[in-house]
């Protein structure tokens, strides 16, 4: 069921929704960007239409709603571990189709991989509903169409804003009541069909371990500085490290947390005693690239990368992930010709 809502009335809808949900959406923070006179676009809680930036890509993805940067798993108290409680807040998050698809990738790791669902992830994930913002143009670094993540059916509300009106398709019956007074319309969601960037993802059988020490990765040993920005902005990077802290007032009492980790960052593989793996940045670029477009697919039948282009947007060395895939394709071609 679709509705058209006057912009002036949409805040009423948001306030009704806020009775049950915390609402997160892209917001623009004036002059908070990295460089002078630039803005920072990031997720924040919103209560009005005015606050939502429908036309920009956030620097960080919305994954924090289910996978916080820091999350307490246990409290310890002398001789006992106590499982951290769940605050239990329901969340509505405004996002794009590629980002909904990114949640599906996180689900694979946290809910399907290993012997059991991750209970900390699950209890946050169960409370999240998606408000998908129509995205038919994309941004310069996007390649969601190539990754097949440009469309989604998984949403509670699909939304398109114009100068005067807001068009909403409501799939979630629990939310239709909020729109009951609005005029119905025949709005149907549209999805982007062509990005500015395109890339062909290699077939599984074309990637062999011979490509692991291909020359193409060496370039990244020189360019990558191991800052891990690509990991932190990625909507599908799901790695984390266990971290214990104890309180200053009583050091026997404290918390066990999980914190984001990144495969580009020093220490990611380092074991006690100092032995580590993938010491060159080129090896790390290879590891990440193949995880995003190859080995995740081997395990879960879908690629991990959703083509949002954030890694390219934030890289201080202007490393393009599409560029890396293209180089890999070239290396595969050369391998075949030589083989």
């Amino acid at each position: 069921m679709s509705y058209r809502v006057k912009r002036s009335e949409f805040d009423d809808i948001l306030s009704k929704l806020q009775e049950d949900y915390k609402i997160y959406a892209p917001t623009r923070k004036k002059d908070k960007g990295t460089f002078s006179d630039t803005d920072l676009v990031l997720y924040d809680r919103v209560s009005s239409l005015e606050e939502i930036d429908f036309n920009s890509k956030t620097k960080y993805s919305p994954k924090e709603v289910v996978f916080p940067i820091t999350q307490t798993l246990f409290y310890f108290n002398g001789d006992e571990y106590i499982e951290a409680e769940d605050k239990g807040e329901k969340v509505l998050v405004f996002l794009r189709p590629c980002e909904v698809n990114a949640f599906k990738r996180l689900d694979k790791i946290f809910l399907e991989n290993g012997p059991q669902e991750d209970i900390y992830y699950k209890r946050l994930r169960e409370k999240v509903k998606f408000v998908v913002m129509e995205c038919t143009e994309g941004f310069d670094s996007c390649f969601c169409v190539s990754m097949g993540t440009n469309e989604t059916e998984d949403y509670s509300i699909f939304i398109k804003v114009s100068d005067e009106e807001v068009f909403c398709e409501i799939k979630d019956e629990k939310l239709t009541e909020v729109f009951a007074d609005q005029e119905s319309t025949d709005y149907t969601p549209e999805f982007i069909q062509e990005n500015k960037q395109q890339v062909e993802v290699p077939a599984l059988e074309d990637i062999t371990t011979d490509l692991f020490d291909s020359e193409i990765w060496k370039e990244y040993s020189k360019r990558c500085i191991g800052c891990g920005r690509c990991n932190t902005v990625c909507p599908t990077c799901s790695c984390w490290t266990m971290q214990d802290i104890s309180y200053q007032d009583n050091e026997n009492i404290g918390e066990r947390r999980r914190v984001w980790a990144g495969c580009h960052i020093d220490g990611y593989t380092e074991m006690a005693g100092g032995h580590d793996f993938r010491t060159t940045y080129g090896d790390r670029m290879r590891f990440k690239t193949l995880h995003k477009i190859y080995d995740f697919r081997k395990r879960f039948d879908i690629d991990m990368c959703v083509g949002c282009g954030r890694c390219e947007d934030v890289c201080p060395q202007y490393i393009s992930f599409v560029g890396a895939i293209k180089k890999l394709n070239q290396a595969i071609k050369e391998e075949k010709n030589n083989g």
Binding site: G114, S238, A261
Partner: protein, 263 residues
């Protein structure tokens, strides 16, 4: 709600055996189903967690041989008999003991690599009828780093043993790396056999190449990996190599799989 499998549980320490200056074996009371080659997450509040392989399995106890090399293990060394060691597990794959039965078995272990294979060795020491022969090549850096001296001495009566130190010459030990002694194993005389190789990555690579050179086929080789892990249950990502999670599909791998696990 389902049980939280990240929740560490206390296990009472009943014995601490000093193997070397920096390696102690901790015995804890534990009545759990575990398999040879699996591991636990040792989990100390305030300090953190570390994956440690099981070095001994008893009726109602488990042993862990821990090297004092990091934040967590330093703290473990502060624990005393009677105190609790927090752990969670067991996790991971194990050595396929039944597959080894009634065949010849060659075990090549270097340094702390002896730990994950020690319970397998003890099993076949106590059940020597269930194996045709067992060749054990155990190597250590020097005299001070020899682990499980009593066990090594006992094993001589049931196994064909070659013990070696990298450079030193002392009684009962050869000189050289484990790889230097692989050719002494009479692979030609075996009808059906398996080879276990456990140790530092460089040693495992070298030993695998050496046994392959001696005509062993890949399917008969078993190795055990060691990687950084935060969760041990397939969520944290640290131990992943290609599409394989060492915590889930490993740490014990057949060489046909392990040879393609390039970090």
């Amino acid at each position: 709600m389902s049980e939280n499998i990240s929740l560490p549980k206390p296990y009472k320490i009943t014995d601490i055996i000093k193997e070397t200056e920096i390696e102690y074996t901790f015995r804890v009371e534990a009545d759990l189903e575990v398999e040879h080659g699996q591991f636990f997450q040792i989990s100390l509040p305030k300090v953190g967690e570390a994956p440690i392989s099981i070095s001994g399995i008893g009726d109602n106890w488990l042993e862990f041989t821990i090297r004092k090399v990091g934040k967590v293990t330093n703290e473990v060394f502060e624990l005393e008999v009677g105190e609790n060691l927090f752990m969670r597990g067991p996790y991971g794959s194990s050595f396929p003991i039944n597959e080894y039965k009634d065949k010849d078995l060659v075990v090549i272990a270097g340094g702390t690599g002896v730990s994950p294979v020690r319970s397998t060795l003890k099993y076949f020491y106590e059940n020597s009828d269930s194996i045709k022969s067992l060749y054990l090549i155990a190597g250590f850096k020097d005299e001070d780093s020899i682990l499980f001296e009593e066990d090594l001495e006992k094993f001589k009566s049931e196994f064909n043993t070659i013990y070696t130190l990298d450079k030193e010459k002392i009684d009962g030990f050869e000189v050289g790396f484990v790889t230097d002694h692989i050719a002494k194993v009479p692979f030609d005389s075996f009808e059906n056999y398996n080879v276990i190789i456990v140790g530092p990555p460089v040693m495992m690579d070298a030993a695998a190449k050496e046994v392959l050179k001696n005509g062993v086929v890949e399917e008969k080789i078993w190795v055990s990996f060691e990687r950084k892990m935060s969760c041990a249950i397939g969520k944290c990502g640290h131990c992943k190599i290609d599409e394989t999670y060492v915590c889930l599909e490993g740490p014990v791998f057949n060489y046909t799989k392990a040879k393609d696990l390039l970090d």
